[in-house]
């Protein structure tokens, strides 16, 4: 129920039943005593306010009525005396009120009153649940942001790809043993289609390189985060579903040293400026020269520990200069991809591996189990 603010009209004050004739000093003394005893009991702010209204209320306050009844009707000869007594009483009441106000303040905020409100501040705070970004998404976004700083836009492509985009245009010719390295999940019923039209689940994000180049003449700078699939049995470090972040940079005059500098910058941005990179020759059909990149072990700072197999280095990603054969496929739709004039590099990294390192995850399967206890750690 709404509590109405008490105002002057509601002050329930008994009018003094006195005539001017028999007013003497004792009447004023009685009133003063009444005021004093009333004021003495005042402790709360509310009571003080009621006291104020009772005595000093502008319309119905006792002093107001007093002045109307006694002062105005007093015989002329007594007016001066009654007036003095009235003023004296008013001063007393006002003084009492000031005291009561001050006292009520002190009472409400007294140490004792506050002590009664003491809280155990060591009790846990009330927590509203916060949702977490998935660690894989978080890692991908982090990589996307790092490369955005170097001018890379995001490129995406379908998860179901054709053999052409996933393999052939990436320089894995039909029947080539390099295809064996990527066990592929295929869509049913593809046997009667031509090899390059056969549908499969992309085994890497590299096909988006070709899709982008077909759409866009050089220069190109894209970073491709995405989900990929392989026909691999699941274990602690393998999953048939995983994620990659791929990058592609094509322009006039792009060099192997640019590739090195770009990835060195990105790894420092991702793992901290003290991280070192080193590059090893490797083999990927779609890059030439190809390289594997190692970073100095982030767990032991390169001293050698169990995590880096005591080598001080951790292998993290593959990269290389775009193979002219790949440019030749792109040039079928965009003639500006002429390997004699432009050059480029590409790189790809496994997001799960980076996330496992960064967050200390030991089983890759945790990323896909939706376990609340695992996910809430990333909130």
């Amino acid at each position: 129920m709404m509590t109405k603010k008490m105002d002057d009209r509601d002050a329930n004050v008994e009018a003094p039943n006195l005539s001017a004739q028999n007013v003497d000093a004792s009447e004023f003394e009685k009133l003063e005593a009444e005021a004093r005893s009333g004021a003495a009991e005042l402790t709360t702010a509310e009571a003080v306010e009621n006291f104020r209204l009772e005595w000093l209320g502008r319309k119905q306050g006792r002093l107001k009525l007093l002045s109307e009844v006694w002062l105005q009707h007093a015989p002329v000869e007594q007016k001066r005396l009654i007036g003095q007594r009235f003023n004296a009483l008013k001063t007393v009441v006002e003084g009492l009120l000031d005291e009561a106000v001050a006292r009520s303040r002190n009472t409400g905020w007294s140490d004792e009153a506050l002590r009664n409100e003491q809280l155990d501040v060591t009790l846990p705070g009330t927590r509203r649940p916060m949702g977490a970004e998935h660690p894989i998404t978080r890692t991908m976004n982090e990589l996307v942001t790092i490369f955005a700083g170097l001018g890379y836009s995001v490129g995406v492509g379908p998860e179901v790809e054709t053999d052409f985009y996933n393999f052939e245009s990436m320089n894995f010719p039909p029947g080539h043993p390099a295809r064996d390295t990527q066990d592929t999940l295929v869509v049913a019923g593809q046997e009667r289609r031509s090899q390059r039209d056969r549908l499969l689940l992309r085994t890497h994000t590299s096909p988006v390189q070709m899709r982008t180049m077909e759409q866009q003449a050089p220069p190109v700078r894209i970073v491709i985060p995405g989900k990929v699939h392989r026909n691999d049995a699941a274990d602690a470090t393998h999953s048939p579903v995983f994620h990659q972040v791929e990058g592609l940079c094509v322009d006039v005059g792009i060099t192997f040293s640019d590739l090195k500098g770009t990835l060195d910058y990105a790894m420092k941005a991702l793992f901290g400026s003290s991280v070192k990179t080193r590059f090893f020759p490797s083999f990927f059909p779609f890059t030439e020269p190809s390289a594997d990149v190692q970073i100095s072990c982030i767990f032991c700072a390169g001293k050698g520990c169990r995590k880096c197999k005591h080598s001080g280095w951790i292998e993290l990603l593959g990269c290389g200069m775009v193979d002219p054969a790949v440019f030749a496929f792109a040039a079928e739709k965009q003639p500006d991809y002429d390997a004699r004039k432009i050059s480029g590099f590409a790189f790809g990294m496994g997001v799960e591996r980076i996330a496992m390192m960064k967050y200390g995850v030991s089983d890759i399967g945790q990323f896909y189990a939706g376990d609340m206890r695992f996910l809430e750690q990333f909130a």
């Binding site: 001018g151 179901v160 869509v187 549908l199 192997f256 040293s257 500098g261 020759p281 189990a369 939706g370």
Partner: protein, 715 residues
Amino acid sequence: MKILTIWLRTLLPQLTVSDAQLGEDLTLRGIAVEGIQDLGAGNGSLFEMDITTNRVDAMNHHGVAREVATIYGLPLPTISVQMPTVRPSGVPFPVSIEADDACGRFTARVLRDVRIAPTGEVRGPMSEFAARMFTLLEQKPISNAVDASNFAWLAMGHPTHTFDLDRITGGIVVRRARKGESLKTLDGVERMLDSEDLIVADAEKPLALAGVMGGWETMITPATTHVLVEAAWFDPIAVRRTARRHGLHTDASHRFERGADFNAAPLASEIVSAMLLENGGSVDGEMIDVRVATLEKRTASREPIMLALSEVHRLLGKTIEPEGISATTIEPVLRGLGCELRRQPSSANSAQWQVTLPSWRLDVEREIDLIEEVARVYGYNRFANTLPSFAGSVKVRSEAEVEAAVSVKLRAAGLHQAIGSTFCSMEEARLFEPQPEMAVALGNPLSAEAGMLRPSLMPSMLAMVAGNLHRDVADVRLFEMGTVFGGSTDRVEERTALALGLAGSDATEGVFAQRRELNFFDLKGMVEQVVECFAARSFYFDQFAPGEKLTPEWLHPWRAARLTVDGMAAGWLGELHPRLAAERKLKKRVLIAEIYLHRVQGVPLRKPKSREISRYQPVRRDFSLLMPRHVNWAALNSALTGLNIAEMTEWCAREVLTAGAGIPGESYALLLGATFQATDRTLREDELQEFAARIVAAVEKLGGRLRAESGNGLQ
């Protein structure tokens, strides 16, 4: 693959660096040494190698020795074999290549009166050396015939095969198998041959799967006296097809599939023959060597290619050392690897070479391949780290903005983002895809339970929610944004969808916090907040009677709603059907929603817009109403909207009670809270009373009535 440093040092007598240094130097050149094992005094080390599949030429001791020689600029002596004198043969052994598209070279050498014995019992420099190397490699010796082939393989990486000559009728024919032919291979398996299989046959029958595995019948046994030594060159694709068809992967097929050295056959044959003959016997006639010119030209006698120093610089960029890569860096590297270089007339800075390629490096065929060799041997880490200049802008995908906006909303509501399996079972696909023929099957699924591409996010969301509940995680709040698949196996369509999965309480944690069980309206509120990310003109939720067969089977028919956004069906939400919950042994109510994000994505994201906030005091009035059951909130809401009271700035249902004192059947009590506020004045009591009267009139028009004007709730 394993490499012995002691063997490398016999091939490279001038090699002085330590084994550890050697391992690191090789690794940095792409001939990766994964592990180094010290074999004890005088035995050197065992290198565990990890060599990329394109470098089959380096998967043997001589191949690695060539890399070592190139790195350190050492001479690499050729392997020379001391062959016994040849006894001239009256009739050369007949060999013919019928399949001249697939077999480029076939050499055959006839050895007479050999003695098959364990290698360890044979006296002779090669046999003794081989025996020692086998011990260090922990390779089990078998017999001198098999071991000779293995020794040649380990020494120089060319596959060979030995036949029991007495089991061969007539001569050798390399051909495709004929329909109905079969062959029992060395692994004891009787194989039906396909007309595409490349085989080594005699006049009557198949003897071996060419380049893959020998035959049982012509196998060398202790009784063998006459031997035919085969060293050949087979085409990669032909061998790969045969091996795949028979599910075989052997050392020989591995090498041939990746390109063997056309010119290596005679040396391989010599090594095998010489080692076998150390235990007696003689060579019968010269080695028969049949070659196919077209294949020889494609491998051993390729046309030279050009290499320009300017291209090296254009592609590789800056080096740390200022002198960089010059002609004098390039020439010894490529010569060391077996290329022949002819410098073309040109100035020093624009040097060019005509390069003849080695027969063992079929992976090297273009200028870029030579540039890679230069970079590799020079050392990748001697290149500088540079950043290319950039003068463009970064484009942001609109889908990424949508995904970010939705994700932030849901995370703020306390939901964790999850990533579920891409696959589901046929049964799940049928349940969650209203048109089962639109679900796409995999040709080679990981398992029967993962045979389909998920047509909906529901199978994985339910699996994740159930996984939590089964692990006694009481409160589940998950969402997934991901791809779902439809269409047909000819044309697969991908769509982005959003799934929400909730169970248990709101999970507010604290001493003075009250936990509350989540219900349908928590889920609906989240869906509403997601939809409000978009500047949709309208959206609403509706329900269908079970008879209409519109509500998905997986939802509780009376606790399910369809979401419609701008006239498009945009998803379903509700409680999991109790039957499905029971099937999954879920005791808690599970709330799930699937939003067809791809449909909503076309609607622009809502941009925040500020409005004037009134300076005048708002007044709140509650109306305790009694409404007929058939009049739902949406009907009341639209009637209130229809009043067009500009000063009624907000209204909502504060409480709903469907049973209790003073609530007759077929009706329900509803506490309506309304807020009135004008932008230009304080509202007067008479105005408020007029608004109240209009509201009550609207309620009465719907068949409802006022229970009490205001109060502390419904009870």
